[in-house]
């Protein structure tokens, strides 16, 4: 039976088709060419390449292009000793399609769950000193935009004391930036933009916004946002091959809505602790609703505007207690010092994109 199993051989050197006969012998597969030449190929170097309908195609590990085409209906004894083919790829063939699919689905679900939840439990575990280092690497030196006079520094410190209960210090600076906003940056740094202070109707409002940013720092939202974006981009690189899109997602890094709510809750708690009325902050959100403070600066992800301003306004309004004896967050003199800091500090640079004045 084995003798004379007809097959075809391409030697990988030229496209000439060689009719051959095959049989197994000691040392491997004997391949005899019609013109008489004979070669014995060890079974170990043979590879199964594909099932081509009526023929099985085998290759040679060391000879690129070497192809042996054996009829699919050749003697079973001959075929049995040739390498057998996989279908789906190594591991999956070993486990079987159904079993492999179930196992892979479970692993994938666990991976998704891990990536989705990791930021909220992993974020707080990242040491704050690391975050400060990451922060200074990502953010750079912003001191040149900071407005500082002895009086304004004292006022700012007084404000921070009332809205922060953390152990490690946060760095709060008043920045000469012409936008109504405040940001929490990686590394426990908070910037209050001068325009926000200028437009504030009362110090309570500045306290409410500052407390919100302190909330982001204390609840480790900054690290969480960084981790979430990084984890998502890794996860998406499996399913989504579009690097551009992944980068786009990374560029629009911001806090989740839950994080915003948490920071707001922290803010209300701190205001209550220091007997500062949340009414001014509610009014601030009311005004914010009517203008978009970050318009034209969409590339600044840290400054991305917060969602649901109306809902937040309501939450702060509801936190006002009727018979509470509220006191202002700053004395008129302190508030005045804060408002004049950027005008008085001649060293502070006005922040701009860098072109024009």
């Amino acid at each position: 039976m084995e003798d004379g199993a007809a097959a075809e051989l391409f030697d990988g050197q030229s496209a000439i088709r060689h009719p051959v006969t095959l049989h197994w012998q000691d040392g491997g597969l004997a391949i005899a060419r019609a013109e008489g030449a004979m070669e014995v190929i060890p079974a170990a170097v043979l590879t199964f390449n594909e099932h081509r309908g009526d023929r099985l195609v085998y290759g040679h590990r060391e000879r690129a292009g070497w192809r042996l085409l054996v009829p699919a209906d050749a003697a079973p004894a001959l075929l049995a000793r040739l390498p057998q083919g996989g279908k789906y790829g190594g591991w999956i063939d070993r486990f079987g399609l159904v079993r492999a699919s179930v196992v892979l689905a479970v692993i994938s679900a666990a991976a998704v769950a891990a990536v989705m939840t990791a930021p909220s439990w992993l974020g707080p575990m990242v040491p704050e000193s690391w975050e400060r280092q990451i922060g200074s690497a990502l953010v750079g030196d912003l001191d040149k935009f900071a407005c500082s006079t002895p009086e304004s520094d004292a006022a700012l410190a007084a404000l921070v004391r009332q809205v922060d209960d953390g152990k490690t210090p946060v760095t709060v600076q008043l920045a000469k930036i012409d936008m109504v906003n405040a940001v929490a940056l990686p590394g426990g740094r908070i910037l209050i933009f001068d325009k926000l202070v200028q437009e504030a109707k009362s110090p309570d409002e500045v306290a409410g916004v500052l407390a919100h940013e302190v909330g982001h720092v204390r609840k480790r939202h900054v690290m969480q946002a960084l981790l979430r974006q990084f984890g998502l981009s890794i996860l998406l690189s499996g399913a989504n091959s579009d690097i551009g899109g992944t980068l786009g997602g990374l560029a629009t890094m911001g806090y989740s809505r839950e994080a915003e709510r948490e920071a707001d809750a922290y803010s209300r708690m701190q205001l209550a602790r220091s007997d500062i009325s949340p009414a001014a902050t509610a009014a601030f959100f009311g005004r914010l609703r009517k203008l978009d403070p970050t318009a034209g600066n969409k590339q600044l992800s840290y400054l991305a505007s917060h969602p649901d301003t109306a809902e937040r306004e309501q939450a702060f309004k509801a936190a006002v207690k009727r018979d509470e004896a509220y006191r202002p967050a700053l004395t008129p003199a302190q508030f005045q010092a804060l408002r004049q800091a950027c005008a008085k500090d001649k060293d502070a640079e006005e922040w701009s994109l860098g072109w024009g004045s």
């Binding site: 030229s14 690129a64 192809r67 994938s108 935009f145 996860l235 994109l353």
Partner: protein
Amino acid sequence: MTNEQSDKAFEFHGSWQEYAPIAFTNLLLTIVTLGIYRFWATARTRRYLWSRTRFIDDRFEWAGTGMELFKGAVMVFFVIGLPLIAFNFLIQRLVLNGNGVIAGALGLGFFLLVYWLVGVARFRALRYRLARTYWRGIRGGSENPGMAYGVSYMWKNFVGTFALGLLIPWSMVSLWNERWKAMSFGPYKFDAEGRVEGLMGRFLLCYAAPFLALIGLFVVLLPILMATNFGGDAQKAGAGVVVGLAGVFLAYFIFGLIVLAFYAKFFRQMVEATSLHTLNFGFTASTKDWLKLFLGDAALILFTLGIGVIFLSYRHWAFGVRHLHAFGYVEVDHLTQSATPELREGEGLLDAFDMGAI
């Protein structure tokens, strides 16, 4: 083998019933691996399509593996993806620090780099596909790594936008020629002598498309408008919406049709201008054929609620083979093994920019 011969040099022997188990298991495994299996899925699909495609008297063989494609993608992630992410943070930092000019300059440089990479990726994808395609144990490839093609891709596409885009056909033709001239199969180099002549007519029609759409709109909708003159206000408003929607749809359809007509001609002309030693090629798909292909795609996806997507690569391959012709002869004893580098890292770059066709 000889019984497979027919008048046509290329012939597709696959059937969708035979391909369906591959397509469905690919889909399943791709889902449960969050997309990672797609590299192996691509390799399986190609292996099937290649092995069911006859050229003269033997089938093609796809020798590429999923692992290769996967490694290519991982490499791209580390060599390009991670630096791009870091670069993005750098730009943010610069903007935050008020260095907008530097950020802008870096952004422009970044854009040029990506554009160059897209060009390189297109070149390398073709090179990789040829290097992993065997016919009678012989493969193709290219000696050229494609870096210079990336530069050509950049400046030729830029020049193409001159004069309201009138030079776009020139840039397309020139890039096709440059890419194919760098490719080879066995010992022979491809030649491509495509010309712009004959393409400009259809290309200029693209500029006329908005006017044609307007005329079409007028002809189709005039009767409706006249009829609604007799109706009430609500009816008139409704008719206005209908007219507006129909107008938008018509404009897109007519423009798409004209672009398709241009592309069909371009593709026929380019394939005809491409040759390999003693072989000349031809491509016979008319605009109508392409339209039928895409309408068929749309119908397939629509009626299978999206699942039909997994058959698109099969349909497009079959379409290509059906319309591809070769004329001339092959001297098999002179068709020796390619001396170009063997490629084992897949087309990660092309994949990264989401341009992989099949």
